[in-house]
Symmetry: C2
Subunit: 493 residues, 2 copies
């Protein structure tokens, strides 16, 4: 074992000690790491005597002090020992060195948990970074008032408010909880006290947290089909038994509810993901009644319904829930910008404290200066102004986009009837492979998503496209590319 | 059911319609919400005829247009319907209204998962927000170069780089992965390629993610005792079977390793949490060999070992691991400031892609402009300079602090021998209740932690205290308060 091929024959291979004076890493550090590596790899055997510090310094053209400090560090960590006065020898270490790594089995990916393997999915559509193009769920970051945002954020950092810079307010920054609570009451009809609000690191981490606190392995989840893929994934990873609840052009299929007693019902009633439909008042109440009968939780994912063409937005279902079973999930990714990575959850009072505690210990927290900045942004009216401005802008863009698609691609793409959200779902009117079309389109930077991606069972092929980030010129050029892709795609017979 | 006490007798109770013109909520919205509430609560029965829009406008002193739009919205959502020409009636809705909430059971906290209940712990020590005082793990935020940080961050936001502002680089911002990889190689002796680096929303979320991807219910975890509470909690919440691995003043107990084949071994070898000990080279190799024999993963939590009094820091154990079983967890919370909420994990290559995917779908991502800012901060040398400055500052403060404690409180508090980290563990030399002492001290804003909090079994009572955020004057005043608390605490006999 010792005496391996790598062995140096009892001498320090001084020529192999390469010192790089340009690397930025201190020279003492470089020599220390190299010697330690020799010892660990068995290049230097146990008992090998190292050169005296004077000698080492001369050979490497370093100061004697540096050499002394290298030996001191190696000695303090047990790699070398000093004997017979001041002579330095390699210490006796266990045998698991680099050269002997066949002693034990190496790690393998098979050692991971079922949770880790739940995300082993093939059918990922890659997006091109850079321009948003037709990417769904993407607002126009060019119109966000970053100057104002920076001023507010900079104030909190430069002021050095130690409350905000250290570990504090583990369950959320109270003034932000209050600001969000007021916002969702006024704009979304949510019934909410500030301490029901949990601020999360984006909406996705909120969904993941809910899956964990609500679901045990084998619990039944009713999941919209087609439905939001990333929600389906976290429910699946939590070990849930997913049952498809069909949604089609006519709406949610209440005549054919999934079988099995649900623990959780996931729904997007104000802007169905991906179809953009809105659930009517009667259906909402029927859903809440069904949930109550089953003693199920309802997760209401309200991700972009602030943007509705006609009139004010339809209020959230949570406001209709008399049973305390609806958990409302919101996000600032669409109303502000995706990289803000701030979402929130409105919890029923009975479970709020427990869920917030789970969020704290699982590390799902948002930086306090960011929370304080968002609070200022809302309370000072910047958020309402930005929402107002983008509502008008996106409404204009939506009608331009739908007209352009109708005139250019109407023979292939039929829109689902929707007046909400910042994306539009289109059905392919001819038998074509939407995944193949999306792949080709995205190679040219379009960033569309095939509708079939949102189905767990037999899909209705189509495309989901965002329009909010594009002006008319950009839309025209994207749609020209898309037309050329679709026109040259083959039909399936 | 209908015809309940709340019923209005078939008329809209116009006096109960309170319009608040100062609230900032549009008047149309207020009236809409109030009417919807009357309908849902059964105040307005099915079939009740609503006043004509002209009448409503007059009664409430609003414009006729506003009244029309309110009715239109209620109608589009199915709450009212228009019959007999233009008359508006309350529609027939299912019976689950507020007034009838006894129809189904209300939600209860008992409906939560075992994961949610895992954090139901009693023994929380509350910290006072505001000054850090003696709080462990707390750096001095007053010396961080926030002006530089803001300039870098502001640049990324104002430049409106759409790559950074939208959903992109789901597995981490590549230039930051590279910067971190270089840092841990040069400063911590970690062997690392950029794509092994996963940037996490703070170190705690990294630990939680590792618990989820590595552990299945019932898997054995060897956990240092005393050890980091928040790690123990996430392993427990993942369903692990925790086995205590004893650590005392003499170090890690290798003579009495826990029984059972571990799936994960959690350790803090460069700065034991909370005692501040450092594991020697021979013990590290023995630990790695043990892990390899058991085919266990080693989680090396390296949270503050950048701060070592004597010489350079001891390199990470990961650099000695020839088996690819060590997962290195790092954080910028101590070297920069806690509210940055950026940590990272260095993954063995074989599992890196799967773990990064699990991080993406569970929402454990860091805002891209923040990632880009941190990258600049490291690459431009600001990080190295700040580290250098704080190393000197904290070394000075450490010796002042230990001398002050020795002279003022030496009769009660005996330090564990340590030269690393930004906190110091003290053993109580007399039989006293450390929780009671900490509670009383923290009521006066000291923010100390009782050592017994870090034990799952019989504790060694003591206190863990941070010193890095305090100058000598502040130390003296904190320690005077602590002395008065301890002097007036009773001994247990």
């Amino acid at each position: 074992m010792r005496g391996s091929e790598a062995n140096s024959g009892g001498r320090l291979p001084i020529d192999a000690l390469h010192v790089d004076r340009q690397s930025g890493v201190p020279i003492q550090r470089q020599i220390y790491l190299a010697l330690r590596d020799f010892i660990l790899r068995g290049v230097l055997d146990q008992g090998t005597r190292l050169p005296a510090t004077r000698e080492l310094a001369k050979d490497l053209a370093i100061s004697r002090n540096t050499a002394v400090r290298v030996y001191e560090q190696l000695s303090s960590e047990g790699y070398v020992e000093t004997r017979q006065g001041s002579r330095t020898y390699v210490a006796d270490l266990p045998s698991s060195t680099k050269a002997n790594h066949k002693l034990g089995p190496e790690a393998s990916a098979a050692d991971l948990s079922p949770f880790a393997m739940a995300f082993d999915i093939d059918e990922r559509i890659d997006f091109a970074p850079g321009a948003a193009a037709l990417r769904p769920s993407t607002p126009d970051t060019g119109v966000f008032p970053f100057k104002t945002w920076n001023r507010l954020l900079g104030g909190h950092l430069l002021y050095r408010n130690v409350e905000l810079l250290n570990y504090n307010f583990p369950y959320g920054y109270p003034p932000l909880q209050e600001a969000i609570s007021k916002y969702v009451q006024a704009y979304r009809g949510v019934r909410c006290e500030p301490d029901q609000v949990l601020v999360t690191n984006g909406a996705q981490s909120g969904l993941d947290l809910l899956a964990r606190v609500l679901l045990d392995k084998g619990d039944v989840v009713w999941m919209e089909e087609p439905g939001y893929v990333n929600a389906r994934l976290v429910f699946g990873a939590a070990g849930a038994d997913l049952r498809a609840w069909k949604v089609c052009e006519a709406g949610w299929d209440f005549a054919d509810l999934p079988v099995g007693k649900p623990r959780v019902i996931y729904t997007t009633p104000s802007s169905q993901h991906p179809l953009g439909l809105t659930m009517g008042a009667e259906q909402r109440l029927r859903l809440l009644e069904t949930a109550s009968q089953h003693e199920a939780w309802v997760i209401e994912d309200d991700y972009d319904s602030e943007y509705r063409l006609a009139g004010r937005s339809v209020p959230a279902m949570q406001g209709n829930d008399a049973f305390g079973r609806t958990i409302y999930v919101g996000t600032f990714a669409k109303t502000m910008f995706p990289a803000i990575r701030i979402g929130f959850v409105v919890l029923p009072p009975l479970i709020a404290q427990r869920v917030k505690r789970a969020a704290l210990y699982s590390g799902n927290q948002v930086s306090l200066p960011m929370q304080a900045t968002l609070k200022d942004f809302i309370v000072n009216g910047h958020f309402a102004r930005h929402l107002h401005r983008t509502r008008r802008l996106y409404a204009e863009r939506r009608s331009i986009f739908t007209e352009l698609v109708a005139s250019r691609l109407g023979a292939w793409l039929q829109p689902y009837q929707s007046d909400v959200g910042i994306q539009i779902a289109y059905r392919l009117t001819r038998p074509m492979n939407d995944v193949a079309i999306a792949r080709r389109a995205n190679q040219q930077g379009l960033n569309v998503v095939p509708l079939s991606r949102y189905y767990s069972g037999p899909p209705v092929p189509g495309l989901l496209m965002g329009y909010a980030a594009l002006d008319e010129k950009a839309m025209r050029s994207c749609l020209a590319i898309l037309a050329s892709v679709i026109e040259t795609s083959e039909e399936i017979h």
